[in-house]
Subunit: 509 residues, 2 copies
């Protein structure tokens, strides 16, 4: 700052110079910032809401990393950029981003855009709460409590506890830690060193986060015993029983069974009732990872997929997936009603969780959590639920699954498409066999060639920007497409388009 | 749905009935939702942005939990609510929420509202990205890379790696896991059972998340050796050396020292250079929890507080605190350049991280993370940095610290206010001694009475809604106020107000 400027500022009423900084009240130009804010909002609505969900627009504007770096001005500099430049920058950011709310984004276990959730998310971003104490987050803590209570009702528990966490993976880690604490409470203080080897069980088809949980929590990935699945991807109860016996014979201590309700690739549901029997028999914590499949609990037609879930000790359920609450919205629910979550995770920080407060401090959630500051993720789900009602959410699930059934029927009708298996849920897995391979013998060469088809079509669809769906090799099968139907913006015509487009992009392969 | 309705819907062009669900294209009333969205946005701007940051408005509208439950209609029902009801509900949510962006919210280590960050947050909420693969998050992955690179530059490393995580606590857990992996790579696969007892070191004044990390990661809270601090709250290097010797004598294996740059209560900075010497000597991982103090790195005047930070192996730094990037924005930075983050945290999920993609898959970050889906938290910090430039961020830090110095000077001038200690950073800790106690002998009765002053004043200020600041007992001292200055909206006058108001609220105690 030049001397003249400094002098001019000091002349202002009440100005004070401290440490070379002039303190004279509001120093930022709020008017200009508000105008920028207004313009930016218009642009967001147009580009990131309207165009981004318009089926006639592209799903993505593909650029390879090195080229995209040149197209964006990523560098952070000493001086700020003018508002006009910032607006253009924001526009480019939106332009080159994948439109996950687009009706033809079928790539992940989340998709679509819910306007109610979006309103709630704007509110929490503006208010910037952290949900650890009632003192600073009164409304959002009560909203979380009400939402958890309702989710617990759908699981079928009479009571319970829970917490919203930053992702299904972390919910699974919470469950693993709770199971360990229940089994060996001393570990919290004394650690695992010197403790009998602990073993947890989950299916071969379970989410990779169970392996990450074992690594992170010091249990070790070798102590995750993967249980075989049947040809539909469901855990085989007899195999679980055998693995538990093996662990016991080895002198290890089994402590946790994680079942999956809606596997990542095939959308398979483990037989919860039978697994619960085994857990009860051996006194093991029964966790259900329903991150993806939990949504079906809201549908009278499809909730049978999760039959037996009420027997779980804990459940992970991500409303940001099929229910479209927006990333991230993930609940870890616990049947226990003896404050296990708190006892397992508390650190008793006096500076934050004072006991001499003017309200009932049992509302404070900080001691349940492994986080300190925590986002108010329940609110967006709660507002959406308020807006749509249980019936509206149920329709969303029923529609997604009906669309999947429709797609399956179409796949069966069309030449060159081959279903991997009849789906139970919204994962439709299939091969596209281009004309050049259709009359080939299904020998090694055939499978090698077919393996390269999906990646090639994926590359073409991304470069065209017409749609996005995933592919992967899986359990000895060469690359196949995994189509996920979620969005309530998706129409029947989009299913037809999907198959037409794959054929169009791949028929010359 | 009644039969007539069903029939009417089926008559529409192309309608198909699947599983009792009519699939005939767009089924939601987008127009009405867009109108709701527009109205809601107006309300958000007015209530949650403008009024919420207006110094003439209340900071909070205090209600006890049971009463607030009645004031809000929290219950989730079968049917959805009409738009008008939803708007009123949103208005109530905002009304009863604490305004953390208000210039007189001094309660936590975050505060204020940055318009640029808010624009960025609206963009990411609308686009709903998950930053695990370049395929679905091309822009946000590159933005994260550029932001981490710049933060690494300010730490003073030539190169490095990093990841944005959901909170400083989880960043500290990452650091603990990296340190453990570096020291005993087998633990990832084999677990801690049968491994020599591991011990980590941190100061008595460190954040409680180190204890949570030890519990969660299976190390055990007893294996966190707390190192004594000096009267300013800084870790005493000689005490660290002694604790390391003790652990070794006990036959345990030291693996990690966590220093704090900006402690939670006092804002103290550990002597990094001296601690780095000790870590180097013993071959221990040196982590610096600069979640709160990291912001000072951007100030030429104050970066000396973190002298020696370039010698750290890892750093946690939360731009959502003093830099106002919005909760959550937390980076874990790692000096290693041999892909340690990835090796330590990978689970190698083939369905998500295919190697046969049409781009360089080294851009995919999923294997660095303990999460699966992950929010694009770097973007809001990046856009803010773009808008303000390094100099703008520097001014923000310099202004907050100058305001703190001003407050300290005022406290010294005023009767009845007693500084706990001269602050180094933005934590100003002090007692307010009401007139009735001023001439008392400082005996047990005095301290007992003083202990009750801060909670009482806090209750009164919350019920009045005039401001919010924290208090706590600490290291044998009875309840004192902890004033945190962050926001660039805070004026010198707000500091004067703060002291006047405490006096006003407490003079009759």
């Amino acid at each position: 700052m030049g001397c003249n400027q400094l002098e001019a500022m000091l002349k202002k009423k009440n100005a004070v110079l401290v440490d070379g900084v002039v303190l004279n009240g509001q120093t930022i130009d709020s008017k200009a910032r508000e105008q920028f804010f207004e313009k930016a909002f218009r642009m967001i609505i147009e580009e990131a809401v309207c165009k981004a969900t318009d089926v006639t627009e592209k799903v993505c504007e593909w650029q390879p990393p090195e080229k995209l770096k040149k197209l964006l001005d990523l560098e952070l500099r000493d001086s700020g950029e003018p508002h006009q430049t910032l607006l253009q920058l924001c526009q480019s950011v939106i332009h080159y981003s994948v439109k996950t709310g687009h009706p033809r984004f079928f790539n992940q276990l989340y998709a679509g855009m819910d306007h109610y959730s979006l309103v709630a998310r704007f509110i929490t971003e503006a208010l910037n709460p952290s949900v650890y104490t009632y003192e600073v987050s009164p409304v959002f803590l009560l909203v979380e409590e009400a939402t958890l209570k309702k989710m617990i009702e759908f699981i079928g528990w009479k009571e319970g506890d829970g917490i919203f966490s930053p992702g299904g993976s972390i919910s699974n880690m919470y469950a693993t830690n709770l199971a360990r604490y229940k089994c060996c409470p001393d570990v919290k203080e004394r650690g695992l060193s010197g403790v009998q080897r602990l073993v947890m069980f989950t299916s071969e088809e379970s989410h990779y986060s169970m392996k990450k949980a074992a690594a992170f929590l010091g249990i070790g990935t070798q102590n995750v015993y993967f249980v075989k699945v049947d040809d539909r991807g469901k855990m085989i109860p007899e195999e679980l029983e055998e693995q538990i016996q093996r662990a016991k014979q080895e002198g290890a201590k089994p402590f946790l069974v994680c079942a999956t309700a809606g596997t990542t690739v095939l959308g398979a549901f483990d037989p919860l009732d039978k697994l619960a029997d085994i857990c009860e028999h051996h006194g093991l914590w029964f966790h259900v990872d329903a991150s993806w499949g939990g949504a079906a609990l809201l549908s009278k037609k499809h909730c049978k997929l999760l039959k037996g879930i009420h027997r779980a000790d804990s459940v992970a359920w991500n409303p940001h997936k099929m229910l479209m609450a927006g990333i991230q919205c993930c609940a870890l629910l616990v049947k226990d009603n003896t404050d296990l979550l708190k006892r397992c995770h508390s650190a008793g920080a006096k500076y934050l969780f004072q006991q001499d407060r003017c309200y009932d401090v049992r509302y404070d959630t900080g001691d349940k959590s492994i986080q300190c500051s925590r986002r108010a993720d329940a609110f967006k789900f709660w507002l959406m639920w308020k807006a749509l009602g249980t019936r509206g959410l149920e329709e969303r699930v029923d529609q997604a699954l009906a669309l999947s059934r429709y797609l399956v029927a179409e796949i069966k009708k069309r030449e060159g498409f081959q279903l991997i298996m009849e789906p139970e849920y919204a994962n439709v897995c299939f091969w596209y066999i281009p004309p050049s391979l259709r009359n080939m013998e299904q020998d090694q060469e055939f499978w090698q060639k077919l393996h390269r088809v999906a990646p090639e079509i994926k590359e073409r669809m991304m470069k065209k920007g017409s749609m996005m769906l995933g592919y992967q090799p899986h359990q000895g099968k060469v690359n196949f497409f995994r189509q996920i139907v979620i969005s309530s913006q998706v129409r029947r015509e989009d299913m037809d388009f999907l198959l037409d487009e794959i054929d169009l992009l791949g028929k010359d392969l």
